[in-house]
């Protein structure tokens, strides 16, 4: 086994430990952010260097180092980079616990990287828990009533979801006798169709897995934690949850469902339809519930539920598509990349604006177009991308996913999705309208720190680049999705 392939993960653990120790020694807390970022850069550099080589799996076939895993690792490292940049000023609120904050962000990132790469049910379960436990703690970091309650709620619901997920894994393990995804696929394919039809345990196991993963990606009806947790958590962590945690959930769904349940065709069509159903209710409920929200964090929370719905349109398309067609997969990967930049950008703008206003209310954003024109412009760009209008990334992302769905006879689903995009335009544009046309409460400028500006520029650049020249990212996504062609 080649331990060199494990360097990105090792680098993150080492950085986390260094940060904790350094926290004891230094009064210069900014140093902690710098160390964390350099750890992320090292891990990211090594990950980029590993791209395209198609290494074998390591750790006794439990950890894949394929392009798919690397694609997501780069995504998570990028998000963690932006989250830490946008936390540099926010962490002052945590007075005593800045070291722990950065360490937990790094450990959660590590958990997500492992989620995208592990190929064994046991390792998948424990990687999910590493992510979750770190996030439960991070949500409660503000230590005020809302934040603590959010953390408790997230933990209790998350633990229930992981128990359900675990039951599903247990059924699948009991049915096949295997825990490795590849072996599971082989034993499913070895069974004759009549035996498979007479075995409800497999289907029930899959349904329970969908429920467990559905919690991670915040799909309706497993979304009840979203609004309260998004509102109560520190804003950088809300951004992190809405972006990375969701992407990690999709990474693991793609890998598990493709590697283990991709064959036979009727099986993948069945779970494709499950995702189609979830997509419809997630989009519709997410968008409808977002309309009356007055708090921008709650609004973005519901919007992220709806975005998970659009993503599941992609999952449905690739469930019903025949093996070897990777338009659906690469579409989902592209959507995730664009969603990451867009939502990160939106949240960074919210951190900058709300940090100054001390308020998350949309009404207080009135007149931001004059008080902080650049921030307002960035937020507008990101909201436009969330609607899915050109020239932003969201347009191309929806285009890819919906065209994949249309090609596989899911026109009805696409029609519902497009209608939903129209509804969503209403509440996204309301924020834009308040910012540019509303009467400002004061004329005072809203300044933002250099770190925040850098993070915001990077995300907006991503949104524009992906929207105007999507070819490069699509090429990466196709390379990453290629591992699913048997």
């Amino acid at each position: 086994m080649n331990l060199a392939l494990f360097i990105p993960e090792l680098a993150l653990v080492a950085t986390a430990v260094i940060v904790i120790l350094l926290d004891l020694l230094t009064e210069q807390k900014r140093l902690l952010a710098q160390v964390s970022i350099s750890g992320l850069v090292v891990a990211g550099g090594v990950t980029v260097a590993m791209w395209g080589h198609n290494f074998p799996t390591i750790f006794n076939n439990m950890l894949a180092v394929d392009n798919f895993a690397l694609f997501f690792k780069m995504l998570f490292l990028g998000v963690a980079f932006l989250v830490i940049l946008s936390s540099v000023d926010y962490v002052i609120k945590f007075a005593r616990f800045q070291g722990e904050y950065y360490a937990l962000v790094l450990l959660a990132t590590l958990g997500m990287m492992l989620m995208a790469a592990t190929t064994n049910l046991i390792a998948i379960y424990i990687a999910i828990e590493l992510t979750s436990i770190s996030l439960y703690a991070l949500v409660g970091f503000l230590k005020d009533a809302k934040s603590t309650e959010a953390s408790l709620k997230y933990l209790l619901l998350g633990a229930v979801a992981s128990a359900v997920l675990l039951y599903g894994m247990a059924l699948i393990f009991g049915f096949t006798g295997k825990t490795n995804l590849h072996d599971i696929a082989q034993s499913i394919q070895a069974l004759s169709p009549p035996t498979l039809f007479a075995s409800p345990a497999l289907i029930l196991g899959i349904v329970l897995l969908v429920a467990g993963f559905g919690f991670k990606i915040a799909a309706v009806p497993f979304q009840m934690w979203v609004p309260d947790v998004y509102e109560g958590a520190p804003t950088p962590i809300t951004a992190y949850l809405s972006v990375a945690s969701k992407a990690a959930g999709f990474a693991i769904i793609l890998r598990v469902f493709f590697s283990a349940f991709g064959q036979p065709d009727w099986l993948s069509q069945n779970w494709g339809l499950i995702f189609a159903g979830l997509a419809v209710i997630s989009m519709t409920l997410g968008n409808i519930m977002a309309i009356p929200q007055s708090n921008i964090k709650r609004l973005l929370g519901y919007s992220s539920i709806a975005q998970a719905g659009y993503l599941m349109v992609g999952l449905a398309a690739l469930g019903v598509s025949p093996v070897g067609d990777i338009l659906g997969q690469s579409g989902v990967l592209f959507f995730l990349a664009s969603y990451v930049f867009t939502n990160m950008g939106a949240f960074i703008a919210v951190i900058a604006i709300s940090g100054k206003l001390n308020s998350d209310l949309i009404d207080d954003y009135a007149g931001m177009g004059k008080r902080a024109p650049l921030l307002a412009l960035a937020l507008t760009l990101c909201l436009i991308s969330l609607i899915g209008m050109p020239p932003a990334a969201g347009f191309m992302a929806k285009f890819y996913i919906f065209s994949a769905a249309v090609q596989h006879d899911l026109l009805w689903l696409v029609v519902i999705a497009v209608l939903n995009s129209v509804i969503s335009a209403y509440y996204y544009l309301r924020v834009v309208k308040v910012m540019w046309l509303g009467q400002a409460a004061s004329q005072e400028k809203v300044p933002s720190s250099a770190a925040l500006r850098l993070a915001l520029v990077l995300s907006c650049l991503g949104v524009l680049l992906l929207g105007i020249i999507p070819g490069y990212m699509m090429r990466l996504a196709e390379l990453a999705a290629r591992i699913f062609i048997p």
């Binding site: 436990i133 408790l152 229930v160 009991g174």
Partner: protein, 102 residues
């Protein structure tokens, strides 16, 4: 004769009892206890599968060991939050947690 099904049904019953408790109780400590109940139920399933399906490999028992690790960490973090709430934040009532509010 004792078979796999006996253990599986027992575990299904325990899991359902745990789920009922999670959905119907308002006290956070009780909810946490019910979650432990659910995890124990899954462990029985795993160990039973291990015994009857792959008796020589022990995969299910290995899985169960990791579940126990996770259960312990979840309990530790959960109880830390509950303690914090009682320590300083009187305005949250842990006995009035409503998990299913939308």
């Amino acid at each position: 004769m004792l078979g796999l099904e006996h253990y599986l049904i027992l575990s299904a019953i325990l899991f359902s009892i745990g789920l009922y408790g999670v959905l119907s109780k308002r006290n956070a400590i009780i909810i946490l206890m019910c979650i432990e109940l659910m995890l124990n139920a899954v462990n029985i399933t795993l160990v039973a599968f291990s015994r009857y399906v792959v008796p020589a490999l022990l995969t299910g028992q290995v899985f169960a060991i990791f579940v126990i690790v996770v259960a312990a960490t979840e309990a530790a973090v959960g109880l830390a939050i509950i303690l914090a709430i009682y320590r300083g934040l009187e305005d949250i009532d842990v006995t009035k947690i409503n998990l299913l509010k939308w």
